[in-house]
Amino acid sequence: MSIMTLTLRTLSQRIVLLSLLTVTLAAAPVAVYAAEGEPVPAAESAQKLVEVLQSNAPAAEKAIVCKKLAIYGGKDAVGSLAALLSNAELASWARIALEAIPDPDADAVLRQALGKLQGRLLVGAINSIGVRRDPKAVDGLVAKLNDADTDVVSAAAAALGRIGGDASAKALTQALTKVPAGARSAVAEGALRCAELALAGGQSKEAIALYDAVRQAELPKHKVLEGVRGAILARQSAGLPLLLEQLKSADKAQFNMGLRVARELPGREVTEALSAEIKQVAADKQVWLFLALADRADAAVMPAILQAAKSGPVKLRVAAVTALDRLGSTPAIPVLLEAAADNDLELARAAKNALGRLPGKEVDADLLGRLVSSSGKMRQALVEVAGQRRIPGSLPVIVKCSEDADAGVRLAAYATMGGMGGESEIDSLVKLFVKNDARKERAAIEKSLLAICGRCGAAATPGLAPMLKSEDSALRILALHALSSVGGHPALEAVKSALVDKDSAVEDEAVRTLSTWPNNWPEDNAVAEPLLALAKDGKSTAHQVLAVRGYLEYVAGDKNLKNDDKVTKIKEFMPLIQRAEEKKLALVTLGNIPAAASLELLGSFTTETALSEDAWAATVNLLRKEVPGVSADLKVKTLQSAVASAKEETTRKNAEKALKAIK
């Protein structure tokens, strides 16, 4: 158990561990709880806790007792806790309990402390009075506004703000102009809190007076602006002129507060006034105001935003379109579509995003209707948006668009078919592939086909197998790629059948496909057998190399293989590997298999000149992991050998690091 952090899951654990805490911290445990089960009744428990406070127990123990009294303590604990308020070490612990105990006696002792304490301890007591919102303390706190200690003045002002009421309001208003500059921000904060309470209590006139006092006082600008915010909001729609004043200001902080309040002040008349204001403010501010209007989510702003989205500077159009993303509905569709077909890419992208997010089935219906009758760039945009929204019933129209005269529309249709299509679209895409010679179009069609096959899985295989019998080599290669996306046993068998083909390019592609077969192990581990065969008897070195790499990837990835079995397979496979490059790859693979057998096999290569450095690097990599069956002693000895024998500096350094970690 960590000394610092105790884990307290169950009640019984908690009891034991709290006792342990006391033992650990103070070496003088006090039985506060019953040994098992529920805590003893609070009254009895609290009495024992109080006895600890009254005893000569160490401060550490009294501290934890204070925490418990915050939950279980009552009137009887107040006196003992009050006695700690002047104790620099325990005052903060005592206040934890005093702030929480509901009994009025807790208020009384904190009020009494006002006349006894000084400095930080006095500040603490005042803060606790503020938290408890004790109205009887107002006079005492008002007196503290004249204290020589700025921290005390600040605390008193904050507490008065929390308590509120006429007397607090009056004192804080006066203090705004009287207290030293160092305490004035705290007084302003108190006045703002006081105003909030007044407003919540229906005293808007009093609240406005407080806000106005703050915004007119000599304060840091951000405090003045907090007063401005409150003054606007408290006045409701009558605060509009003051809001517009902020938005017209050349001062950035004022304008920014205006933007904030523009989102908060309710009312249609406010929305309309802000909409009109967009035309009045400087061009560089219009964007920000647009965004603020969008956050109001008020339909009254639509005319202004629709107008801005239609024409004007592109930056503003983009902002307006972004706003429509939030506010728009069916009436926004024509404007957004126009923007989506615009030559400005960012504007078009923003409009398509907005169209993709507009809520409602009626939007789907509207867009589908337009898709049928559209053409050119507008149709391209509609195809993309239909795909983004996955509009029900749009797929047949999109398939038709894949034969559109406009290349942009066709490309958008291919992509959308890839996103939305299923098995029934495979045939359409294959036909399109055959029909189109252009490399760009074929690439787009293939991408869509692979996306569909990846989603459909085995269900796609029957549609792909006939392609392997096509006379067109390109189609047979496409089939191999698609089968690779599908994965699984039937697809694998189909790919294996292409290892013997009249076109060597297809054979090459079949080997390449097998060597990168989707490693959804163990479902796809049947690929091991053809890879092993190719590694032995592949038609060309290239085929053998690809097979070796694929086989090593299979061994590393198959989760059904135990680590020892992996090492055995690699050991058996090593003689088939011809080139040094793949042998090194095998060593790297071994270095990632945490098994004692890996270490042993790697060791056999450390003496082979051509592989020695790679064997050491893999060995060090292996020993940086936990390797079952390899003792710390063996680890150390092997790593020391690596430091002594490896020529590569990186390997030696890694070995030294590993040694250091072990030690």
């Binding site: 000394i3 610092m4 952090t5 550490a60 925490k67 907090e226 915010r229 603020a292 956050d295």
Partner: protein, 441 residues
């Protein structure tokens, strides 16, 4: 539009029982709905609109300071330093080694020696040229420092857990509302494609009517930090123990307590626990349930699980077991017609592959870049970031309330309008904890 709602700021909700003034329920629900509407559809604002393309003139750059920068903070700061419209100027840390390390990083980045160092955050916050601060002190300071910063006129990006208890959660939301400052909690999974996609499915009804949300809090244990034997206190310039303790109750120096990541996490007797990961995964459940302005109303430890229930009937199950192995911080959303589970490896398990149709590539891990950018965009636009103070407030309240139920070992009922436990004095006393003098929130 977010409704003007000063009434929500009234602090009476956390006064000792019997003193609270309930606010109008209709008003609250309306405000909560509007607050969540803002989050429902975060604007995707093109970079050119926000002036992020091309060179940003110095006068338009956001000036950033950082407070408490250790491992996680250094990662966050790196995300900030990559942003072209930002200038980092000052580091504050109570530990000299950290101050020096961050200064070196910043000075190397800018090719000068300008990064200022502070031990006391109040000095950094008093600088008028600083617009925003990154706070990654550790949970003991997060809320107090964020509130100090807001009161000093700074926008804040704060690591999680952001608060130590329910009172601090409410104070955080109230302060950022009052000051009009921008707050982003470091709960970046809201922006990550896989989590956002799962949330979108839940919110758009693609799973049918939602009934159960599952969160992996990474631990359902409650913790407290203790008082260890006194050791020789280092010089203030090296480690300022008083400032390190900050709002935590006093105890003597002990080097074992200098782990800011865990120190006083959650505070009280029932802190820590589900806060560390719950502030992520419970937060995601909150968003999936469109509940950013509220929290579950019941919490009960049942076996190895903590079961909670929202007012709309949706269940929230915090559990450590039975996950599909999709990496850390998984969540699962279940509706009447389907379910989806995702985690930090960026992949999904779904009831039907149809739910994933057209799904684009995911990002594994949990990078914060998107969140940092979202924050900086909101500093400019004054809009609300994805994990604004209101959203963070209630996500944290859900975790704190769960911890209280775990500590008490029984069911507790919570009223997210009055923000108090119903008829439960023990639980209510655990909503708040006094701060050490002179700190307050």
């Amino acid at each position: 539009m977010k409704k003007f709602n000063l009434a929500k700021t009234e602090p009476a909700r956390l006064a000792p029982q019997g003193k609270s003034n309930a606010i109008d329920r209709r008003q609250f629900l309306k405000a909560a709905a509007q607050a969540t509407a803002l989050i429902m559809a975060p604007q995707i604002v093109p970079s050119s609109v926000l002036g992020r393309e091309g060179a940003t003139p110095p006068s338009e750059k956001i000036i950033l300071g950082a407070i408490g920068i250790g491992n996680r903070g250094t990662y966050d700061l790196t995300c900030f330093l990559h942003e072209p419209d930002l200038k980092f100027v000052a580091i504050c840390d109570v530990k000299e080694g950290r101050r020096q390390a961050v200064k070196k990083m910043a000075d190397n980045r800018y090719g000068n020696t300008d990064c200022a160092m502070y031990r006391d955050m109040r000095e950094l916050l008093s600088r008028e040229d600083i617009d925003a601060v990154l706070i990654a002190t550790g949970p003991n300071w997060h809320a107090t420092a964020s509130i100090l910063a807001a009161n000093a006129g700074k926008d804040v990006y704060c690591e999680k857990p952001c608060t130590k208890n329910i009172a601090q959660s409410l104070a955080l939301a109230e302060t950022f509302r009052r000051t009009g400052r921008v707050f982003q909690a470091g709960t970046q999974r809201r922006s990550l494609p896989n989590f956002a996609f799962a949330i979108d499915l839940a919110r758009r009804g693609k799973l049918g009517k939602l009934h159960t949300l599952h969160a992996h809090p990474g631990g359902l244990d409650t913790h407290m930090s203790g008082w260890l034997p006194a050791e020789t206190e280092p010089p203030k310039e090296q480690v300022d123990w008083d400032l390190y303790l900050g709002p935590a109750a006093w105890r003597p120096f002990n080097a074992k307590l200098l782990d800011g990541f865990n120190f006083e996490k959650g505070g009280g007797l029932a802190g820590g626990g589900c806060l560390e990961w719950g502030s992520h995964c419970v937060d995601l459940c909150q968003l999936a349930n469109d509940a950013d302005g509220t929290a579950p109303i019941e919490y009960e430890p049942v076996g190895e699980e903590l079961r909670a229930r929202y007012a709309n009937g949706v269940n929230l199950v915090m559990r450590n077991n039975g996950w599909a192995g999709l990496g850390s911080c998984p969540v699962k959303f279940e509706g009447e017609t389907g379910w989806i589970e995702t985690g930090d490896d960026g992949t999904f398990k779904v009831s039907s592959e149809d739910l994933l149709t057209g799904r684009k590539a995911s990002i594994a891990g949990y990078p914060a870049d998107f969140y940092v950018r979202d924050f900086l965009d909101c500093v400019k636009s004054r809009s609300q970031p994805r994990a604004n103070a209101e959203a963070a407030c209630y996500s944290h309240i859900a975790c704190h309330a769960a911890n209280i139920a775990l500590y008490l070992g029984r069911k507790v009922k919570y009223d997210p309008i009055k923000n108090e436990f119903i008829g439960d004095e023990q639980a209510n006393r655990m909503r708040s904890e006094a701060l050490r003098e002179p700190w307050r929130v």
